[in-house]
Symmetry: C2
Subunit: 317 residues, 2 copies
């Protein structure tokens, strides 16, 4: 929310663009088109679809929705709205949209659009920060104007933060007159969170990231092999310490291709229920996140549990 407000304050322009199916918190503008369906997304370009009941029509009108990983269509839509856009909000691997990495072509388009129009790039790194020592932006090779971060930087306590280039961040500057964008609030500058977050970050260096990446590769390979052995449709997406299990074999590029059908949802639910009964809880979307206390032993337990759940699901057919 503060990153979007900062982009508006810096540019003086009201609209934002975001990718269909991408989650960026519960700020109304960021929630637009978070979970559209074939019934609501229409035939042509993505439409602004409300996520919650009661979302004002005016909020929908301030949001331009683009398809993830479809650079040509996305660029055409962005250029049509460039005059009124404050920013494009991007998650490089949006978990609700399939945990599919952004393609080099999509990133190149965003950078070209940024350069030619001046519309800011706001990177949502709340989840992807953990992918690299320089965040997801270093891994994917994109330099945003603003980055929204959170989760791991709080060391277990609630936290959110915004960083960016000095000229954009100047909108928050309270040292002279009232800033363009005052930033106060109960959540700000909590001392315990700041101390815990710094301690956690001191213990999260390149070695830890490399180790988690190796474990993630191992987990993804194990899941792929298990699907093959069981003869069940399925695949896994993700990078580094993040992965998502899918119960179909469609080519995955964006939100629409990742959206599960009712039978695919049931299949995933059946697998995850069996895993839970055997001691491993995975969230209902099949998204997993590895953490530094884990080692090879834990990944092996995870893969064994997953394989057993697949086998039982196959046998129950």
């Amino acid at each position: 929310m503060m990153a979007i407000k900062a982009a508006r304050a810096y540019s003086g322009k009201p609209k934002i663009a975001k990718c269909e199916g991408a989650y960026h918190g519960s700020y109304d503008f960021a929630e637009v088109s978070l979970d559209p369906t074939p019934e609501s997304w229409g035939n042509g370009d993505p439409k602004s679809v409300a996520y919650a009941k009661g979302t004002p029509r005016s909020v929908l009108d301030e949001v331009v929705v683009i398809p993830f990983n479809k650079p040509d269509r996305a660029e055409r839509i962005l250029r049509a709205h460039a005059q009124t856009l404050a920013c494009v909000v991007i998650d490089l691997m949006p978990n609700r949209a399939g945990l599919i990495p952004a393609t080099p072509e999509f990133i190149a388009m965003l950078q070209r659009f940024r350069k030619e129009t001046g519309v800011l790039i706001v990177l949502d790194e709340v989840i992807t920060l953990r992918l690299g020592y320089g965040g997801g932006q270093a891994v994917f090779g994109i330099t945003p104007d603003l980055s929204a971060i959170g989760k791991i930087i709080g060391g277990g306590y609630p936290v959110g933060a915004v960083g960016g280039s000095a000229d954009v961040m100047a909108v928050f500057d309270p040292t002279r007159e009232k800033p363009l964008l005052p930033h106060g609030g109960t959540f700000n500058a909590n001392p315990v969170t700041m101390v815990a977050g710094e301690a956690a970050m001191q213990h999260f260096g390149q070695d830890e990231i490399d180790q988690l990446g190796m474990l993630g590769d191992k987990a993804r390979a194990g899941i792929t092999t298990a699907f093959d052995e069981a003869g069940l449709p399925g695949q896994v997406t993700g990078l580094g310490s993040l992965l998502r299990i899918h119960t179909h074999n469609r080519p995955l590029t964006d939100y629409r291709s990742s959206l599960m059908s009712a039978p695919e949802k049931s299949q995933l639910a059946a697998i995850l229920r069996r895993m839970r009964d055997n001691g491993i809880f995975v969230n209902e979307r099949g998204v997993c996140s590895l953490s530094t206390p884990m080692g090879v032993a834990e990944i092996n337990i995870f893969i064994d549990c997953f394989r057993a759940a697949l086998g039982a699901t196959q046998a129950a057919k």
Copy 2:
């Protein structure tokens, strides 16, 4: 933010009403007309004035601004918009608008409007919760549809929460299908905050509230006496453990009457600077909040420090 979104989801209506000068967090809609000036507030009814640069015009259009403690004018404005209003957001003693308690007439108007139109009352109790064991709503005698709470319920950790009547809170219910208003996010259900908050609340009972109220009365009386003795214009507002120092003698009813002129601001700053130099820091608006570790000794130190600062300010004239 979640309380406003809940009122919209429950009612299906887009607009909110709020009082001029009242602070309700950094959600754009809640920030409208937080700090208007005689230049921006116009001649007639309060207008929707942006607080931050870049606030979309559409946001301003979704917010109806009413004058605090002016029941007749406020009611006329509210009734004109009742068909599109999801809720009226109220702080019973808004600190940015002077820390002036709502009058019985203003509260009676709100309750009548609620009853006759069905437009929900959202009470911002983030600060006023501490005024009574049943919150500010028990002290002032108003039953809201939704209450937003925070600060003291976190035991020192960042926290916010929304409560209300079962039929309105049902918009969050995730136990069946997707709720009308899904409520997820990084800040939710933090275990440490929940444990610390419960512990803090277990230690904050009627005795503590009574004691803080007694100390607050003592502090306010001391400030009033000190202004009298120094022969300087000034007064103090507040209730219970909350107080705000004003460097003028205007009758205080609402935001506009409490807004400091440049000389009044300088006078307050001079007093607070002298207090700070003598070891007591008061925020730039002159708002103070007492806490349970304080006793009569601390209040006496505070009053002595304030009296000395007034005397030095008087002598420097």
